[in-house]
Amino acid sequence: MYARREHAGSYSDDKILGSCALFGMMNLTCERFSSKEPVHAISCMRERGNGLGGGFAIYGIYPDLADLYAFHVMYMDPLSRRRAEKNLMRDFRILLSEEIPTKESNEFLDPPTFWRYFLEPKPSKLRDENVSSDEYVVRRVMGINTGVRGAYVISSGKDMGVFKGIGFPEDIADFFRLNEYRGYMWICHARFPTNTPGWWGGAHPFSILDWSVAHNGELSSYGVNRRYLEMEGYGCAMKTDTEVLAYALDLLARRHNIPIELIAKVFAPPYWEEIDAMKPKERLTFAALRRVYGSLMMNGPFSIIAARHGEMIGLTDRKKLRPLIGGMRGDFLYISSEESAIRSISPSLDKVVRPYGGEIIVGRLRDLRVMETPTLVGRVYA
């Protein structure tokens, strides 16, 4: 098990680098579906992972408890659970808590235990702090992930959850008995960490509130992304570059209220040469985005699939150093590292989307138009 560093000072920011497979599948009419197809598709790209990480984010899995925050918490030892639950009980009204059912398996050597809690912030605490409940949840999650040894909140959104660990994705799906869940959107990841051994918390997707991100690549800009987010109150505890993507999405989308198409332009901005050539109003907007959010530019090869309720996006770095492809058939949107994974479950497609570097694929619930960036650039005004 990965030993956690006691003094996570500004210079101890070990990260885990990797190259991986991504697969996302969304029903645009919110129809929920089983694990069968997404797990099949991600396992089709076995070559891109190495068994040191697999994971899923599933949206729409807890419809009966959709008003409550669903915390999935990973515990490295029994003591960590006691410590974290003390915090949770102090800060939240917990309406239901249970161990996440897993399959007995010889595949995994000493897996951590996973618990889930359905909870809401204590009203009195919320009043004292005078913040939105989302902000309250983010702060508590940061508190546990950076402050409680051996406990990691791996997802904290409503009506969604993350399941992940060391193994090939299909093994992880088995382990968490994902065939018992149904969701309208699945984000899947197979991991190939290279520089450090994988650990359970380092598997993807990474999640905060209902954002989840699966990532293929390596962020050379991680050092500055992390320091910027720390300045904004996000503590990076998972030792992997992907974490910063999830927090950056939360910061920009929720706290700064920036539309996802423009967030894509923060992560993978146009070149100055392109900005200089834009019409004056656009130029102002895009120059301002780069000047103000330059520290959140994600530099280095990446492709990501990110999602929140009702929205799934795919994005690559501006040089497109990692693969990404989108496909549609009927009400389904697929985003994948490789076309073969999509074709393995949907041999014929109505539409195939092959974005250029820095172009975003956006799928929105009940919106059958799948957006690609060029339509956006024309409608940004300063």
Partner: protein, 503 residues
């Protein structure tokens, strides 16, 4: 009184090669070489030589060699040559020792203990010859976040950003005043700034009217002497810099002896010709941070908030706290000038002993501003002894937005760091206002050399960025993950915020 000083250098001449062309006689401004017509020989007075190497480089037959005087005092690790010489000089004159250029002491350079990262396997290095790598750098204040307005499908930017500088490379030319330097040097720097898409800082001696045409690329400085400051001067530059301190002489103002104050310099500085131009040590309207705030806003009001205002301080022990105050006082840019920062003249004791290395100052200021959540509201310029593109890259990785270069630009023009700028006899025609000697510096030639230097460094910066897998400099800014230290203590690594190599 007989002087007890050993000649520092020995000037040797290969008399068989020497053609008696007398170029060395003409070139030496210190009177080392003299032609003896009776003997038909050129004689050299070694004790006057400052090792500027002008004669060596200009001798058409390579007949001259300058080397350190092999006569040394008895070896003593405590009483070194420098201390013995200094004492003897002071015993002769009874005055404070002056020196030019920056501190030349050992053990104050951390750049050489920092190493950069490069991509291998898991992400691809980027080839700057084939792919765009962006080093454009905006300098100025910024809001913490942007607000957008949404109407149907339209997205409109609602936040107005403040004024800023846009440099095409993170290298700017540091403040060096007209008076310390002559107009040819200023013109060369101004033209180079235009060519390189960057900025030249005119220093505290005002801006010559003939250079107003380059003012879009000029940062005008307001120092404690207020020389040359009027409405036109403030309005004409691209930015205004308040000089509180200077790395070469923290706690002291600039001194320009009356002998260097010619008519033209007097006109630009707005003082009578021949008078000493002594900047007070403090700004007498700034005795604390709230007064600085008033000056910052007085200047902003004057130019109607159209230009960013920078504040330059010397890197000293509590720079981090001072910098934090400066941000809150409303500055858009903070300039940190480290102990290696140079000068035309400074008391040697101060130059060599006051201030801290820029590497440590940048690291601690950047961290402090982050701890307080205000780092991105200002830009940070590191200054003082930047010698190479690698120093620039390391400065940016530690947390600077850009750097100022002064000494490096002068070296490009010909300076050999003989450290005698305060004599006003600079044989390279740089740190002199003597009209005859100033002619030695051809602004056309000097400007090209400086442009070449900046272009060369910019290419190297792109190479290093590309090797680290980054195609834009904003991803390097404050990215200490890209640095590793060697030969440093844990405490030094902690203050620099970098890991040990191998970690």
């Amino acid at each position: 009184m007989r002087r007890y000083l050993l000649p520092e250098y020995i000037v040797e001449r290969d008399d068989l090669k020497c053609t008696r062309c007398k170029i060395c006689v003409e070139q030496c401004t210190y009177g080392v070489h003299n032609y003896n017509a009776i003997k038909n020989m050129i004689e050299s007075r070694s004790e006057l030589c400052v090792d500027c190497l002008r004669c060596v480089l200009f001798c058409p037959v390579n007949a001259i060699t300058v080397r350190r005087n092999p006569n040394v005092y008895k070896e003593n690790y405590h009483w070194t040559y420098e201390f013995i010489t200094s004492i003897k000089r002071q015993a002769d004159t009874g005055s404070a020792l002056l020196s030019g250029m920056g501190c030349d002491k050992q053990n104050l350079t951390y750049w050489d203990k920092l190493l950069l990262n490069a991509c291998q396997v898991t992400n691809p290095p980027i080839d700057p010859i084939r792919e765009p790598i962006e080093i454009r750098t905006y300098l100025g204040g910024k809001p913490k976040m942007l607000e957008f307005e949404f109407n149907d499908e339209d997205i409109t930017l609602g936040t107005k950003l403040g004024p800023c500088l846009c440099a095409e490379t993170p290298i700017l030319f540091a403040a060096m005043s007209y008076g310390a330097l002559n107009l040819n040097v200023h013109e060369a720097l101004a033209r180079a700034a235009v060519d390189c898409g960057t900025y030249f800082n005119c220093g505290e001696g005002g801006l010559h009217p003939s250079l107003y045409k380059y003012s879009d690329h000029t940062i005008v400085q307001v120092a404690s002497g207020r020389f040359g400051v009027d409405l036109k001067y403030l309005s004409v530059g691209a930015a205004i810099e308040i000089k509180i301190g200077q790395g070469a002489k923290p706690g002291i103002g600039g001194h320009l002896p009356g002998e260097k104050v010619s008519d033209d310099i007097a006109m630009v500085r707005m003082i009578p010709a021949g008078t000493d131009a002594i900047s007070p040590a403090p700004h007498h309207d700034i005795y604390s941070i709230e007064d600085l705030r008033q000056l910052i806003y007085a200047l902003k009001e004057t130019v109607e908030y159209t230009k960013p205002v920078a504040v330059k301080i010397a890197a000293v022990h509590n720079s981090a706290a001072i910098a934090s105050g400066i941000v809150r006082a409303g500055a858009d840019i903070i300039v940190l000038d480290g102990v290696r920062g140079a000068t035309g003249a400074a008391p040697k004791a101060i130059r060599d002993n006051v201030g801290i290395p820029i590497e440590l100052a940048v690291a601690s200021v950047d961290q402090r501003l982050r701890d307080e959540g205000v780092r991105d509201e200002v830009s940070l310029i590191a200054s003082g002894g930047i010698r190479s593109s690698a120093d620039v890259v390391k400065a940016v990785a530690l947390g600077a937005d850009a750097v100022y270069i002064g000494t490096a630009a002068l070296i490009a023009m010909g300076c050999t760091l003989c450290q005698k700028c305060y004599t006003g006899k600079c044989p390279w025609g740089i740190a002199t206002t003597d009209p005859e000697i100033s002619k030695r510096l051809n602004p056309e030639d000097a400007y090209k050399r400086v442009v070449n230097l900046v272009k060369a460094w910019s290419i190297e910066i792109k190479e290093m960025l590309g090797a680290m897998g980054m195609d834009a400099i904003e991803s390097l800014r404050g990215n200490r993950e890209q640095l590793r230290g060697v030969g440093l203590t844990d405490r030094e690594l902690e203050i620099l915020g970098v890991k040990m190599a191998g970690e």
